[in-house]
Every structure is written in C-alpha cells, then in structure tokens.
Amino acid sequence: MKEREVLVILGPNGAGKTTLLRALLGIIPYAGEVSWGTKDISYLPPQELFQRKDVPLLTIDEFFKFKRVSSEKISRILEAVGLDSTLLTRRYGALSTGQFQRMVIAWALVDEPSVLLFDEPGSGIDVGGQETVYSLLHRFWKERNLTILLITHDLNIVWEHASRVLCLNKKKVCSGKPRDVLTPEHLKELYGTGIKFYEHNHEW
C-alpha cells in the first residue's frame, strides 16, 4: 500500500477479512511477511468486539488514558468528531450507539496515527446529523496524512471513498482500482449470484 491510499477490503462473511487485519496487526500467527513503514498504527475492531456492558465505573476520560496524550488533544479530537468534552466524565457504558461510535473513532485518531485499520464501522449507520461514520473518516483522511484499510460490506463506500479495493473470499479474488476490478463477474465470484449491482458512475 502507498501512503494516503484508502484500501477497502470486500468479501462475504467468513471470507477472511477480519483475519487478514488481525494478521497484519500481529494479533494472530501467520505465514509470510508483513512489513510496516510506520509504527503509528491504529486499529478499530468491529463494534461487536467491544465489551460495552460490564465495564462499571470506567469513564471516557479513563478510557482515553490508555493513549497517553494531553487532555487538550483529547478535547480537540472529541470536538472534531462532534462530541462535547463534557462527555469525558460520563461512564463508558452509558453512551448511546452513535456517541460510542464517534467516541471510538476519536479514540483511534487521538494519537495521530499514520495508518488506520478499521473493521466494519457499521454499514452506513447514522452517527447523528447528516454525517455517517464514513463521511467522518473521509473528512479526517482529507485533513490528515492518513492511510486507511477499511473492511466493509457496503459497496457504495467503495465507489465513494476507495482508491483501491481488495476482494477476498478465502483467497484473493481481485485487487486494483474499483473501476477496473469491480466487474459483475468478479462480484459474482465474490458473493455468488443474486447480488444486484450498479456502478455509481455519473459519466455514463
């Protein structure tokens, strides 16, 4: 991957998307070689891998302490994702789903990583207002020198935001620029039949 690329990883359930990210992060053993040009890597697992109940008394403030950054930085990033810094005294388990999503994005970005690995931020879930998780990420990508690897099921995201796409179904099905590789044939191979697919291209 090149710097500032947005790689979207597509594939059906069980294709190995999350496994790929976990291997890249060194969470699971793997064969082959992974080399990173940077150490500033941030990872956000899928929402369901966050234990949200059963974490009594942990405040957002304390949750951010893992990152060892200044409180000004924390307030600034919270504001940037559209949250108030009064949230810091709230309990970790007491946030709404939308607030929680914004909060973990802020958490992942607060120490200014150069690479962000993001596993299914929740397909197009509205985080409040007009903004989706993806437009929020897109904004940060534009403002900062950010390289993003993103897993999603949402084909629209590929057309809107991806500079490259990797289709995965146990093995590599295709890889390249969305326009070049997202052919109906490849998608059929990826998801089987029955998927309706329209290219999002206004130049037609």
Binding site: R22, L25, I27, Y43, L44, L49, P56, L57, T59, E62
Partner: protein
C-alpha cells in the same frame, strides 16, 4: 506494642485486599477469592502443625492448587470455574483430615494474637510490591476486558498480565488468611470493593475506595478484638458489611 503491630498488619492486608478486590469484582472473579482461600487450608494446617509461618503454607498450597487447575483445564477442557469447584472442596476435605481440632478455629477464621515485627515488615513489603505492580497494569487489565483484539493491537501482553494478576491474587489471599482465616477471604476482597463501587464516580475512586474501606474495616476489626477478645476475622467482615450497608444508604442514584 503488639496492638500497634497488629493494626499495621491489618491496614496493609485490608488495603491490598480491597485494592486487588476492586479489580476482581470488575472482572467478575470475586468468588475466586473465597475459593482460593479454601485452597490454602491444607497449607495452613501444615504450618500450624509443623510450626512455620501460615503465609508460606498458604502460598505453597495456592501455587499447587492453581497449577493443578491449570493442568486439569488443559487436559479436560472443563471450564475453570467447574475445576475450581472440584479442587477447592477437595483441598478443604484434605485439610480436615489432619488439622488438629484445637487449631481449627485459627485455620478457619485467622489469628492475630502473636505477630512479630518481621511478619509485619514482610507483609508491608509484599503489600506494597503487589500494589505497585497491580497499579501499573490496572487499566490494561480493564482494557483487555473491553476488547482483547484491541488490547493486543495496542501491544498489551495479555498472558503476562493475567499471570501477574493471578499471582497478585494468590499473594493477597495468602496474606489475608492470617487475619481472617481460610474461610472468609472472599469477603475480605469483595465487600470493600462493593462498598466503594456504591460511592464512586469513576474507576480510580473505586479502586482506591476499596483500599481505604478494606484498610479501615481491618484496623477497626483488630481494634475490636483487642478490646472484646472476639476473634478479629469475623469482626473485620462484620464491620466491612456495616460499611457496605451504610454505602447503600448514602448512595444517591
């Protein structure tokens, strides 16, 4: 002099038990404090018979018990909690096979009538070491509860942390049996944490609250023993329970 030593001892043990206990309650392992307590009983019995320190006996049998549970878990794939239920009562049974009758009360509910300066010093040093070690990984352990993947990605060594955590519980329980015996250790770790949780706004208030309530209950219990002669172990637990009830009344939300 004896009373000063006993009080210092109570403050150290109650404090570390409350602190480690706050973590155990958060990780839903409070009852393990009791199970570990039962595990120590053969060790306490041996110590009382052969005249060595109960802490050493307790720690020895805790180590044996924990290794046994770990081996059985590898072998049988039964849940740890079920294996604990197998190993702990067996250990209790074995203890009663050779525990002399006149030593039973001391083994079960503790004894602080003879405490030396050396014992207090060792207890203090061990409590402080345990405190600083746990303080260092406290947030990491809570964080690992939130998401193991994220913890690993952040470079947290989960296996190492879990080992340190378990070893800290073992040391805490082994220290605790001196003042409350092998039967009451669950209460020693759990009640101060529960009291503190009722009154705290965040995690750090909660863990330090556990330490303070634990220390307070233990010193008051020992003070009560000096004046009334009622064994300190049960007194400590009763006072701790009173704190808990008070916290229920004070608790607002």
């Amino acid at each position: 002099m004896q009373i000063v030593l006993a009080l210092m001892m109570g403050a150290f043990i109650g404090g570390i038990a409350g602190y480690v206990g706050s973590l155990m309650v958060t990780k839903r392992m409070a009852l393990m404090g009791g199970a570990f307590g039962h595990l120590t009983l053969p060790g306490i019995a041996m110590a009382l018979i052969y005249g060595f320190d109960v802490f050493l006996g307790a720690l020895l049998f805790l180590a044996i018990g924990i290794i046994l549970i770990w081996l059985l878990e590898q072998r049988t794939k039964l849940p740890m909690e079920a294996l604990a239920a197998v190993v702990m009562p067996s250990s209790l049974g074995i203890a009663f096979l050779f525990l002399p009758e006149e030593k039973t009360a001391q083994a079960l509910i503790g004894d602080i009538s003879q405490i030396s300066l050396t014992t207090v010093t060792i207890t203090g040093v061990l409590s402080l070491i345990t405190y600083f070690v746990i303080k260092k990984i406290f947030l990491e352990l809570v964080f690992t509860n939130i998401s193991e993947d994220l913890a690993k990605a952040e470079g947290i060594n989960i296996r190492k942390n879990n080992f340190i955590y378990l070893a800290s519980i073992a040391i805490t329980v082994a220290l605790g049996v001196r003042i409350v015996g092998g039967l009451l250790t669950a209460a020693l770790v759990a009640i101060p944490a529960c009291t503190s949780r009722n009154l705290s706004k965040n995690l750090s208030q909660y863990s330090y609250g556990g330490m303070i309530f634990g220390s307070l209950a233990s010193t008051l219990g020992i003070l009560g023993y000096e004046f009334t002669g009622i064994p300190a172990g049960p007194l400590i637990i009763i006072i701790s329970t009173l704190f808990f009830v008070a916290s229920l009344i004070i608790k607002k939300d």
